[in-house]
C-alpha cells in the first residue's frame, strides 16, 4: 500500500493512513530517501497517527529511515505517536533514540522551521 508523500516547501510530509505491512514500510523508507534527494528537501515529517501498533520492525525501520535521511543532509520528525502506542513501545524497550518526535503535524512543522531558521 502506497503512502502518499506531499511536498510543503522545503519539507516532505508522509502521512500513514492505516496499518502497513513490513514491505510497505520498507517501500516508504526507500521512497522518502529518493524524494529527499530528488527534491533536495531539508526535512521530512512522518505522521504515524493512524498506526495502532509500532513493533520492533516498525521502530527499527523508522530509525533507519531517519538515519538515511540525515546522511542526505535532512532532518526527520516522527509525529502522531498515540499514547497507548508510546506506552507499549517503552515497555517493550523500543526506543526511537536519536529521532526527533513531536505531537502532531503542526508541531512537527514548527520544529523543522525552527531548526532551519536557527540551525
Amino acid at each position: 500500500m502506497e503512502v502518499p508523500i506531499l511536498k510543503q516547501g522545503d519539507f516532505l510530509i508522509a502521512t500513514i493512513q492505516s496499518a502497513l505491512t513490513d514491505s510497505d514500510l520498507l517501500h516508504l523508507r526507500t521512497a522518502l530517501v529518493q524524494q529527499v534527494v530528488r527534491l533536495r528537501s531539508k526535512g521530512v515529517i512522518v505522521d504515524v497517527t493512524a498506526l495502532d501498533v509500532m513493533d520492533s520492525f516498525a521502530t527499527r525501520t523508522v530509525r533507519d529511515l531517519a538515519h538515511m535521511i540525515k546522511l542526505r543532509g535532512a532532518a526527520t520528525v516522527i509525529v502522531g505517536i498515540q499514547p497507548e502506542v508510546a506506552l507499549s513501545m517503552v515497555q517493550l524497550g523500543l526506543t526511537l533514540e536519536g529521532v526527533a518526535t513531536a505531537l502532531d503535524l503542526e508541531e512537527g512543522l514548527a520544529y523543522l522551521s525552527r531548526k532551519f531558521r536557527w540551525g
Binding site: A19, L20, T21, D22, S23, D52, V53, M54, D55, S56, F57, T59, R60, R63, Q82, P83, E84, V85, L87, S88, M89, Q91, L92, G93, L94, T95
Partner: protein
C-alpha cells in the same frame, strides 16, 4: 486468509509477513471482548505482532491462536504462537532481560515476557517453538 474458531478463540495461520498485520488486528478485536483498556489492547496487539514476526522470520510459517480464558471470575486472553521451525538453542538466554532487542534485534522475548502476565516457551532444536502468553483483564 482463513480463520477457524477454536474453543473460545481463533486460529490465525502465518504464511508470510503480510499475515502479521491481520493476525494482530484480529487478535486485538478478540481481546477487546474481555474489557482491557486501550493501552492493554495495544500491548496485546504489539505482542502478537512480535511473536508473529518471529515465526515468519525464523520458521517461514506457523500459526497464532488467540483464546479467551476465564479464571476466578476474571477474564483473560491467551496467545499461543507455534511453528515447526529451527527452534531456539539457548532458551534461557533468549528470554533474559537485557540480552536482546534494544532497538528490536533478536526475538524480543524479554520484552514480551515483561509485558504479559504469564509467559511460557517450549522449543526443540530442529522441531519447532511454541510461545504461550496470557494477559488478564478485570
Amino acid at each position: 486468509m482463513g480463520q477457524a474458531p477454536s474453543e473460545d478463540g481463533i486460529r490465525l495461520p502465518l504464511d508470510s509477513e503480510a499475515d502479521i498485520v491481520a493476525a494482530r488486528q484480529k487478535g486485538r478485536l478478540l481481546a477487546a471482548e474481555i474489557g482491557l483498556s486501550a493501552s492493554e489492547l495495544t500491548v496485546v496487539a504489539t505482542v502478537i505482532s512480535e511473536l508473529a514476526r518471529n515465526i515468519v522470520l525464523y520458521a517461514q510459517r506457523g500459526q497464532i491462536t488467540v483464546r479467551l480464558m476465564e479464571r476466578d471470575g476474571r477474564r483473560g486472553i491467551m496467545v499461543t504462537a507455534s511453528d515447526e521451525g529451527p527452534g531456539i538453542p539457548d532458551i534461557s538466554r533468549a528470554v533474559q532481560d537485557g540480552y536482546s532487542t534494544s532497538g528490536g534485534l533478536g526475538l524480543g522475548l524479554p520484552g514480551v515476557r515483561r509485558l504479559m502476565d504469564e509467559f511460557a516457551i517450549e522449543s526443540v532444536v530442529g522441531r519447532g517453538t511454541t510461545v504461550t502468553v496470557t494477559k488478564w483483564g478485570r
